[in-house]
Amino acid sequence: MRMETGDTGLALAAAGGDREAFAALLARHYDGLFRVCFRLTGTRDGAEDLTQDICLALPAKLSGFRGDAKFSTWLYRVAVNAAHDARRRAASRTKASDGWGDWERNRRAAADDTAEGLDWLQTAMAALPEDLRDTAALTMGDEMTHAEAAEALGISEGTASWRLSEIRKRLKAMRDEELSA
């Protein structure tokens, strides 16, 4: 993990108007942010768009950073909220039209999925309800600990653990179903 003090110091300096601090902070966290965005959205395009939205909003957001959480945790909370916003907007368009929604999803899936096993990933993630999906998105990488993920999600660590075990249970059920099918 990054040096916490370094991040916090940079973020506070950036919040106070230090442009070099802002640049360094963004450069340092861009890739991690993108990976989290990918896991939140499930598609490359979605991840690129979400990352861009967050970057452009970051200068304004940052002045709200008080240093009471790790910068990365704070950043990922911003990401989760932005993903929710994007999902809400998408839902209002697709809800009434599963035909197009599915068609678009299939298209995206087909376009992006070249790696083996990605089908399984898509299926698995699609089968999870939203709160579990977000939890998986934040915990299934090396960017943060489970405690930090819980904080970014705004839930207690206990809830995060429960959600993880719930994910495990559902994935297992899926696998058993596949095996028996």
């Binding site: 442009r19 991840a47 939205d53 970057c55 002045s63 009434a96 990488g141």
Partner: protein, 672 residues
């Protein structure tokens, strides 16, 4: 059993791509600009809901923008016009969550600058990417010339709009855009995934476009004397093949549709005389390049070209997808360039309107006479990609604008420009088709322009365009844009013959075997020919369509099938058949009519004159077969195809044929 969570984590690790390097740089730069501006101008900012209220602050931003652009002739926006752009950009803003709300205006200004910078960056890109592009087809020094010439087009003052684009400008501008698209994919490809992903897209088996149809086999005339198919004026396959080759990958065989490659090129067949009908067939028999013992029978149809000044006024509503995915250089920026090219072809009495959709739909340009070039170009400049897509509102608005523009006797058309990433809201696909067909019947047509590589939903786009009586075309380079929007503007917008079907009956006394090259997806049943209910392709004004048969004369050593031992081998041709190889029948419907008309032409030995056109068509047909690894070309190789095409370039005013030769060379080196 492994822990499912570990599986999930590993799956994520495998699936997670690297961020796009270009976008990363751009996002960081944009964020930094917003950050910098936020430090100095917080006092002038206030929350916005519908439109920015701090006009003074924006004017400052615009001045700043113009000042930074003094050395960049590509941008000639005025203060007021850029302010219009702010409104168009609002959907983008709303997409950015901002609980503070107090800092949005500086952000706006930065976004304007991003628009401007992007326009200027287009020029820079053309040059800088050339540095990296080793396989780019144009030399570096030419690219440098490109920049001023593109600027001429952009600012609309130095670029005199000729009736057809002047070659001295065109090839350069075209080259620039190809520079941009070809190496861009390659460069990115070295760093992250998108280019390879793009490159394999044509292989996606889930679209109708690449629906696999086996190559037409050799047919024995005594068994199956009649061949029936629908004409095809689509050219998408050629663009896909070109894109693949330019990215350094041989196209997948299923993406190669030979008839679309052959029909990509304009051929100068004799046009029909006045009163003769909407199109005229020309049949030419010539030696087959890849087989000395067979002959190629080329059927060329040339559509009539009504005088441009005779055509009715056009009302065009451009429905432009400005969603985030459109911001790639080969999408929205290319669309803007294409649009400029097309604008110079319109007449003053034609009208243009622009509706955008991204986040929310908006009227970017009210119905404006094509003569008001500056106004149209300025509104075009303000288009910026960003946000998500809300196609339904846009479509409804585009149609309502179109209806408000329509007068009696005018042709009204909605032109949807998208990368396929559109979501059309409440409409089920079927309902949407009905909606479009309904509007078509009330006089508003729909055409679809696809931008960007690998529009995997092109089947849907084609379906939409077909229901709207329009064409679906892919635009991946500026020269493609010129071809579709300028050279073929009249044809694409004015159909002259609908449901055109071709039927050829071969004379078994003369022809032992035949093979239709391409048109696999266009085959019709024999009885469909006379059935006016069966749909077929349209010919637009001035379009030409080419179909090629390889025929094996009776007694030729190239005959593949031995005669049947027990079959009825005795063929008694009627006396009148003497000298006739085959009989060509064509059916078409005049626009607006339900009953078809018939044209009949007997095909005799040695008919027609071999021209560079027929030889070039043969070279392309051979090229397509090589790409498909066809069984019929023997040891004929790319080398021969290159020689043949090179010898048949003819006038080639737009450079299409020379480009094809380049592609053959690329294919040759890639296949080794």
């Amino acid at each position: 059993m492994s822990d499912p969570l570990d599986d999930l984590k590993r799956a994520f690790e495998r699936a997670t791509p690297e961020p796009d390097a270009d976008r990363k740089t751009r996002n960081q730069d944009d964020a930094q600009k917003i950050f910098d501006r936020a430090q100095g101008s917080t006092d002038g900012a206030r929350p916005t809901s519908d439109r920015p209220k701090g006009w003074a602050g924006i004017a400052t931003g615009v001045r700043h923008m113009l000042n930074t652009l003094t050395s960049r002739p590509a941008l000639t926006a005025t203060t007021a016009l850029v302010a219009v752009g702010v409104v168009a950009l609002l959907p983008v803003l709303r997409d950015v969550p901002s609980p503070l709300g107090g800092l949005e205006q500086p952000e706006l200004e930065t976004r304007e600058r991003a628009v401007a910078d992007e326009a200027a960056a287009d020029l820079d890109d053309a040059v800088s990417e050339a540095d990296i592009a080793e396989e780019a087809p144009v030399e570096m020094e030419e690219t440098i010339i490109v920049a001023p010439s593109m600027a001429e087009i952009s600012d609309g003052t130095l670029y005199a709009p000729p009736p057809s684009p002047s070659p001295s400008v065109s090839p350069l501008a075209g080259a620039a855009s190809e520079m941009r698209s070809a190496p861009a994919g390659k460069v990115i490809g070295g760093i992250v995934a998108p280019a390879p992903a793009d490159a394999v897209r044509p292989e996606e088996p889930n679209t109708e476009t690449f629906a696999k149809d086996d190559d037409n086999p050799v047919k024995v005339v005594t068994e199956e004397p009649v061949s029936t198919f629908s004409i095809d004026v689509d050219t998408a396959s050629y663009a896909i093949v070109r894109n693949s080759l330019m990215s350094g990958i041989l196209p997948p065989a299923d993406a190669v549709r030979i008839e679309e490659m052959v029909n990509y090129f304009p051929y100068d067949y004799p046009a029909p005389a006045a009163g003769e009908g909407p199109f005229r067939p020309t049949v030419t028999l010539a030696e087959t390049p890849w087989n000395p013992d067979t002959q190629l029978m080329t059927i060329g149809l040339q559509g009539e070209m009504p005088a441009v000044e005779d055509r009715p006024p056009l009302n065009l509503v451009f429905l432009i997808d400005t969603s985030g995915s459109m911001q790639d250089a080969n999408k929205l920026p290319l669309l803007k360039q294409s649009f400029r090219l097309m604008l110079s072809e319109l007449r003053p009495e034609d009208q243009v309107a622009i509706v955008t959709y991204a986040g929310s739909a908006g009227l970017a340009l009210e119905a404006t006479p094509a003569g008001e070039r500056d106004k149209i170009l300025a509104s075009l400049e303000t288009l910026e990609a960003g946000g998500s897509t809300a196609g339904q509102q846009g479509l409804l608005q585009a149609y309502s604008v179109a209806e408000s523009m329509a007068d009696d006797g005018e042709v009204t058309r909605v032109i949807l420009a998208t990368d396929g990433d559109f979501n059309v809201g409440i409409y089920e696909p079927e309902a949407l088709k009905d909606f479009i067909a309904d509007k078509r019947d009330s006089g508003t047509y729909l055409s679809v322009l696809g931008f960007g590589r690998g529009n995997l939903d092109d089947a849907t786009m084609q379906a939409l365009a077909q229901n709207g009586n329009g064409t679906a075309a892919y635009i991946d380079t500026l020269s493609e844009a010129r071809k579709v929007l300028v050279d073929q503007l009249t044809g694409a917008l004015f159909p002259i013959a609908n449901d055109v079907k071709i039927q050829v009956e071969f004379n078994p006394a003369k022809v032992a075997e035949y093979r239709l090259i391409g048109y696999e997806t266009r085959a019709l049943r024999r009885e469909d020919f006379n059935n006016d209910k069966v749909d077929a392709g349209e010919i637009g004004a001035g379009h030409s369509v080419t179909a090629i048969y390889e025929i094996t004369p009776v007694g030729s050593p190239a005959v593949l099938n031995d005669p049947l031992r027990y079959g009825a081998s005795s063929v008694a041709p009627a006396a009148s058949d003497d000298g006739e190889l085959a009989f060509l029948r064509m059916r078409y419907k005049a626009p607006g009519e339900d009953a078809s008309q018939l044209i009949e032409v007997p095909i005799t030995e040695g008919m027609g004159t071999v021209t560079p056109d027929t030889r070039f068509a043969a070279a392309i047909a051979g090229f397509g077969q090589l790409l498909k690894d066809s069984a019929y070309t023997g040891d004929w190789s790319y080398e021969y195809a290159i020689d043949l095409a090179n010898s048949a370039i003819g006038e080639d005013p737009f450079g299409y044929r020379r480009q094809a030769v380049e592609l053959m060379r690329l294919a040759k080196s890639l296949s080794q």
